[in-house]
């Protein structure tokens, strides 16, 4: 038996494949910036403007908080309601999309295609759509977040369902349980913790996303963010940024703590 360390080939020795990819990437980067007309100079010439802005934001108009705490609360409410609606709707779809529950490949594929389509819609596009449908205000925001969460959570859910122990499913089937009873007694108890964890995770994401939705008229603090920016009230913008920052950190921390408890 030959037990020698083999010699590396020329390609392996000089990492030619790695170099090839790097060079290709640099060429593509150069080409695309040439095509879109990127002027590297402007990246930096306006840099001083950035510092002017930061300077103005650095002295926040704290009394502005009295006006924005209400829309801030609305933002969180939008996220909570939207996430709840989306998550609850995702449960039946996730069950139908799971390989180990629905053996019929056609049904599963149709549902998965539908879920994929929903997931391709970016949240800002959804917001623009819903503002057009239900009008300006937080209702549009709730709908946006509901659809957005539905797309995301349904995928996370069905992937979680596919990892469960199938032994209890077999046992329940052998005991004469019907499909619904198998889901209730053998599937749901195994994934309940995952469900709650994904709900919280989505809620975190939605709190962040919903701060922006107001930009498109979908309610919440984004409306005020846009107003202060367009009227050059950077001191007010500063307050909004700081408050959003604080709220997101608190909610992330709380939901992380809760999710760790669940595991």
């Amino acid at each position: 038996m030959n037990n020698k360390i083999p010699k590396r080939t020329f390609v392996q020795k000089y990492h030619l494949i790695g170099w090839g990819w790097t060079i290709l990437f640099v060429i593509l980067l150069g080409l695309s910036s040439a095509m879109t007309g990127v002027d590297w100079g402007t990246f930096f010439t306006n840099l001083n403007q950035f510092f002017v802005l930061v300077e103005q934001m650095a002295s926040p108009a704290w009394d502005y908080i009295d006006i924005i705490w209400q829309p801030l609360l609305e933002t969180i409410q939008m996220a909570l309601i939207g996430t709840t609606i989306g998550t609850v709707l995702a449960v039946p779809f996730a069950i139908i999309a799971a390989r180990n529950i629905v053996k019929n490949k056609v049904v599963r594929s149709v549902i998965r295609l539908l879920l994929n389509l929903v997931r391709t819609l970016p949240d800002l596009l959804l917001a623009a759509l819903f503002v057009a449908i239900v009008g300006i205000g937080p209702t549009a925001g709730v709908w946006t977040l509901a659809v957005f969460s539905f797309g995301m959570v349904s995928k996370l859910f069905y992937e979680a369902i596919e990892t469960i122990d199938e032994g209890p499913l077999e046992a329940l089937r052998a005991a004469g349980a019907n499909k619904m009873q198998i889901i209730i007694f053998a599937v749901l108890p195994q994934i309940l913790n995952n469900f709650v964890s994904y709900f919280l995770y989505t809620f975190e994401i939605n709190v962040r996303a919903s701060t922006i939705l107001g930009y498109l008229g979908a309610g919440g603090i984004g409306v005020y963010l846009q107003r202060s920016l367009s009227s050059f009230q950077y001191a007010q913008t500063g307050v909004i940024v700081i408050v959003i920052f604080a709220v997101v950190i608190i909610i992330d921390g709380f939901s992380n703590w809760l999710r760790e408890k669940l595991v």
């Binding site: 052998a174 005991a175 004469g176 019907n178 619904m180 007694f185």
Partner: protein
């Protein structure tokens, strides 16, 4: 009086990949028997067992339960067949995140409409029956414990209690002791034997251990490569008989 319970008539099972699982099985199992099925892995023991509760369908032949053919049952009738046949698994197959009580009660869901079981509306009698079932297997004090806190032997006993909830005519035990230590093996086998003797439940158990099979069963059946190669009442079984069942290759 001997009463026929299960009859296999020229049962053949070919898997979709062409492998023959069962090859022309003719077999009658009587009410109240404790039958041990022995044979090498892949000999068709699990397949034979699962054709009785239709977890596996057969390719040709017929299986009668109390004189009635079961091979064509569908939907509700199939579920009614299954709820009268308990099943015990090597890996216990309990829901680990649920309580012992809920696992035991889940053995009863075949007798409930979906909405009632979904809301956990089990009758008082059934809740008492669950307590009784757990007492029978010495697990009463663990009723509110989560299953993942129990040892393997304890889990198998909970699984037996779950089966008991079905009021089964038959219990199919697929390698019930394969993942247990010798001490708990004895407890679990004793539990099965008690169900067999006290309630006249017919027990069919796939066993790897010949000594255990000789100790507990009334009759031993041997399978090799999907064929029934051995069938004797326990009084007629000789130790040397097993050489043939466990022979790796057929002679000749």
């Amino acid at each position: 009086m001997v009463e026929k319970l299960i009859e296999f008539q020229q049962v053949r099972k070919v898997y979709s990949n062409g492998v023959v699982g069962l090859d022309n099985i003719n077999l009658t199992i009587n009410k109240g028997e404790f039958v041990a099925v022995v044979g090498l892995s892949g000999a068709g023991k699990s397949t034979l067992m699962r054709t009785i509760n239709r977890m596996h369908d057969i390719t040709s032949g017929d299986i009668l339960l109390n004189g009635r053919s079961i091979v064509a049952l569908k939907g509700k009738e199939l579920r009614q067949l299954r709820r009268e046949i308990g099943m015990i698994f090597q890996n216990f197959n309990l829901v680990k995140r649920s309580s012992v009580q809920r696992n035991v009660l889940s053995g009863r869901v075949g007798y409930y409409p979906t909405w009632k079981s979904a809301l956990g509306l089990f009758s008082k009698e059934d809740k008492e029956k669950a307590e009784l079932a757990l007492q029978r297997v010495n697990m009463a004090e663990k009723i509110y414990t989560r299953v993942d806190q129990l040892s393997g032997g304890q889990q198998q006993r909970v699984a037996i209690a779950r089966t008991f909830m079905q009021d089964p005519q038959i219990i199919l035990a697929d390698e019930p002791i394969a993942s247990l230590d010798p001490m708990t093996t004895k407890e679990v086998m004793d539990d099965l034997k008690k169900l067999n003797q006290d309630f006249g439940i017919t027990v069919i158990a796939n066993l790897h251990s010949v000594p255990i099979a000789m100790e507990y069963s009334d009759r031993i059946i041997g399978l090799r490569a999907g064929k029934l190669v051995y069938d004797q009442p326990i009084a007629a079984v000789k130790q040397t008989d097993f050489d043939e069942i466990y022979a790796e290759k057929q002679e000749g």
